[in-house]
Symmetry: D2
Subunit: 363 residues, 4 copies
């Protein structure tokens, strides 16, 4: 396909441009019998919604999602699920001015050369607005997984230079930054306020954790669970790096340190991040995403126009000074979509397996 | 599929266990008219071959590859290409002893629970021996891409605590470590010799670079070029992290720093690593892989057996104290496979696009 | 996936139930630069629309399609295309009565056992109403193919016992039956009027022809063009048989008769129906579909209910006495979707091929 | 992919040319724990083997298959299964003479234009020799399905003008024609002897039946079980038509006749051929294949060469005067592959469904 579908048994296909009529998705492969309502999707959409604080884009979008099919009397039927969000706040005038210019480090240049003809309004298909549908579809996967004891949660673990240690899940949804440490919030707010005064943007790191995942999800060799998680998480706008477990910290570790020893009571550590040989081990699955600073800033930058002439670009419009802030629900959604896909694939191919070996406890 | 195939238009499907009869692959989707011989594949296989230095496993495998189909009179025909490598050096006795034990941090535990019945000899399907076929298949992609001006090369950028700065491509194939800095080699050798005395293993970082990639490879949203590269590179055994361009260093960068400005003469920097909006920009594509220390060491470790009883595991047999050393040709192969797949997909969907905008020079 | 997507490079994914809120589709992989408007899709939707004559279901649906994305300033951008048709005429009361009964020869029984929970209103997802989206998506493929000189047209070649010889394309859209022989229309009308009085239904045969297809579309072995056409055409509701070229008539032909001889002027016959070795030959591609009589008739039939108890079923509601009548635009759409997919795949894998051998003229 | 793979969860990928070194396949997705030996595959390969009677090609190929991976201690492990058959009887000299000519109605012409460069020896990849690997892979699916109570059997139902009514399964493997009516064999032999004297070929019809298939296999809309069966069966060389159940006979049936009524004791008929709404009904699945007469005959035919010049072609070499004769095990194999794929897909997506409605008995 040409890139707008992810998954093999549980598939999500999306459409929609930043300033188009609507955003939509078709979620296929959801088993029948899953309780599902629009409210279940709206919850995560509201967590991602722009304009919820002064630290994110001021674009006002209710992002009201409608379920158009696949759910009957409050329960999935196994048929494909159609989702739709109408775009309401489209200020094209903000963008028409730079229609022939390429914003530096933006998809303008590559879309222009790949497609020739593009919807330049607000980045069109390349806009992060597309991620709303990932969140809506991911909420379906979360609902399915939750009913089987799997909980997926994320938080911001670094904002620019500020590292945020994990303190408590309770705090995460109580602040605009998805910070697991309430004490850090004032520092984060001060940093963001200064960033806006500097007319600049900054990167961030998001950590996502899946708990309750049974041993056995993932396929050997190419479709390893960690490889497919890397795929789905790296497909989020602005992501430049992915770690599973200790990630890059593994480079200077010794094997005697990194290996997670096992006792009858359970694993003694989780350097692997819940994946061994590409297959889930029953430990929490831990992934980290590095998000780059957005290129849409009002500080002038050198670029060219479609004629190859030099131009100075200033990106007006309403942008997130740190796209990482709203990335947490998106990362949760992508991890959920990938885990659910592998849940179904595992069921399809290995359901007859019975082993007496006890599953180990988590670390 | 169940995980042994990668790619959409250019597909590679592999089989084979560490101590089985043979390893094999079917490469499908290679266009006709590509000059190809077994020697073209053997070159990279020899670079990956074990036992080539005292710093890698002493298992002796000639890894002689045969092309069984798809090539006629020295040229590809467009038919599927069958590849075969017979296993010659299989010492099963080394392994039978731990057949009922799970080596800590190894795939034994997850394979056992997922499949119930497994080939425990030398890790069976989960052994890194499987990567020989990735290298053979990748050599076909490299051959195709080279004929179109794309060059893919890798090097070791860190071994355990030792960072290796890039000095010259010329040095890379002249030492056992794929080090781009010949001056570092003695230090690397000394470190590895001590590591063996410590009966331990260590991680590494490999960097892969593709030059000459045209603008336009990659699909929006889910099949972004960087997302699919993350998938194919993370699918290599022992890889725990992936970076594209500045990767995790982007987190505390400002947008005004990270964005790669453009002038009529070309890009002024390459923080993006050659991908913008998921599509190649024409700049060099730069990816880094973090490889964990192998869990197969002779230092005893705590674990359990298939009955859930505690055991102390010592992994005998012939293992790489640093799997990262031989990972360079494997990483090159996976990048080549993914780039070739997108080359064909791009041709399939966008060949009619003509834009007058000049392509920019590389940075 | 779970069955709601077709195609590899040009993919169509659909959703929607007979009595749901809306029908929708996402068309992915359409190259940029194709002129496209809602009117281009509406044309074929109107040809399929119910209630257009007394010989089809009296359900009144305007089937007004909206393009929600992927088209900008009248031209495709290469982004996924979202399509939507709101359902307006939903008479659920017609169906609630038989919600616990299985109509004989209908999908009720199999859907119930496969999914447990189903939207029984009007057949839900199994209703032929779903085919509206095939026609809308197929119109995009037709538009692309037409711009490259490929014309896809169909006609009814048999209605129940009445065989209809091909006379002229001009007549096909001038009558309710898509009959290529205007002289047959009165006989067809009389037959249908009697059929309604008999409270029964009947089968039909539809023939689809693609002209202007270049030599080279189709992949060897499993993805032969004829095999994928068989797949896409057999996926249309009520289709029970597929023929390519002479089809079943080939059984008692001799090789000396069947083989299409070639001269420098062109092929001397087209028994093969335009496909040789699974690849298009440049001759017209000819396929025939056998459509069964619908099971939804008002003549009482024996069946069971969900408790396994015997019931007598009378299918009220508004049904086509011959679903084959409206199948012509649907069959054209499916052939167009499959041909376009292979057009892109051929371009992706073989665009570099240059042979001097002249293409032969059609027969 | 480029056509050499079939299936979604249970996938078969093949390679090999008629006169190449070997034929091979990778079977991926087979669950672990299936008892499997080379003898299980050899059984069907021997049924297909050429030279087994004077009525088939005299090419002598032992077709000895080797299992190279995926089976350990007599049982599948869930890893990909590598299969290999070495070619032993390759008489290239038979073919080199017509290397620049296109045999009428053969794939020579289309392969030449699609690929430019081709292995012309014995038809290369387009030779029916490729079907040996379908039979080997299909035997794995048959083994899996048999362990779950599904039996797949086929027979020849027509040879040229001679219709063969089904009498008994016992007779099918006792004669060279797979005739279910022993009394017809002398007539078939006489016909074939005359056909050889006429230096001509003829078509045939093969019927395949799957019994014991549970209700619920198949996906709605595009991946209906009957659509995917049409795909896999039409992908067999020389097949020009496919019927499910009554097939083309449905055209002039009335709905009151065609619909299979149900009683608590079971279905009263099986016009549908075991598929309702694209999903298996629990009744026997019945498919018929129309095979064309092979174009490889010694009667001279008009054609052109690669320069476009007229030539008279006489196809020497060793060919089947009726390819339909050996098609029965191939058709069984393809039906098995498709059913197994859907068995796994059904398990993956719907395993939680529990309905109390009793399954109906077969008709």
């Amino acid at each position: 396909m040409s890139g707008n579908t992810i998954g093999k048994l549980f598939t999500v296909t999306t459409f929609g441009e930043s300033h188009g009529v609507a955003l939509g998705a078709i979620v296929d492969g959801c088993p029948p019998g899953v309780m599902l309502s629009e409210a279940d999707l709206q919850r995560d959409l509201d967590r991602r919604r722009p304009g919820s604080s002064r630290h994110t884009t001021q674009r006002k979008e209710p992002d009201q999602v409608r379920i158009l099919s696949g759910v009957f009397e409050g329960m999935t039927t196994g048929a494909s699920i159609g989702l739709l969000i109408e775009n309401t706040d489209q200020r094209s005038k903000d963008y028409s001015k730079i229609k022939d210019q390429f914003r530096p480090a933006h998809a303008d240049y590559t879309y222009h050369h790949k497609y020739g003809h593009r919807d330049y309004r607000g980045g069109g298909r390349s806009s992060a607005r597309e991620t709303a549908m990932r969140v809506a579809a991911g909420a379906i996967a979360k609902q399915f997984l939750a009913s089987r004891g799997v909980q997926i949660r994320g938080y911001m673990s670094q904002l620019g230079p500020i590292k945020i240690d994990f303190k408590t899940w309770n705090s995460v949804d109580d602040n605009a930054f998805f910070s697991p440490d309430p004490a850090k919030v004032p520092e984060l707010e001060a940093y963001m306020d200064q960033l806006r005064r500097d007319q600049d943007s900054v990167g961030a790191e998001v950590t996502v954790v899946a708990e309750g995942v049974p041993v056995g999800l993932g396929e050997p060799v190419f479709d390893r669970l960690d490889a497919e998680l890397a795929h789905s998480l790296m497909s989020i706008n602005a992501v430049k790096g992915i770690e599973i477990g200790d990630g890059f910290a593994s480079i200077d570790q010794r094997g005697s340190t990194h290996r997670d020893e096992m006792t009858p009571e359970g694993f003694l550590s989780n350097h692997a991040g819940g994946v061994l040989g590409g297959i889930s081990s029953g430990q929490p699955i831990v992934a980290r995403l590095a998000l780059k600073p957005t290129s849409s800033i009002t500080t002038p930058g050198r670029s060219i126009d479609i004629h190859g002439e030099p131009v100075e670009v200033v990106t007006k419009g309403r942008h997130d000074p740190c796209v990482g802030i709203r990335a947490t629900p998106i990362a949760e959604a992508m991890m959920a979509i990938t885990l659910m896909d592998h849940w179904l694939r595992q069921r399809g191919q290995n359901a007859h397996v019975k082993v007496d070996t006890p599953r180990l406890g988590q670390c």
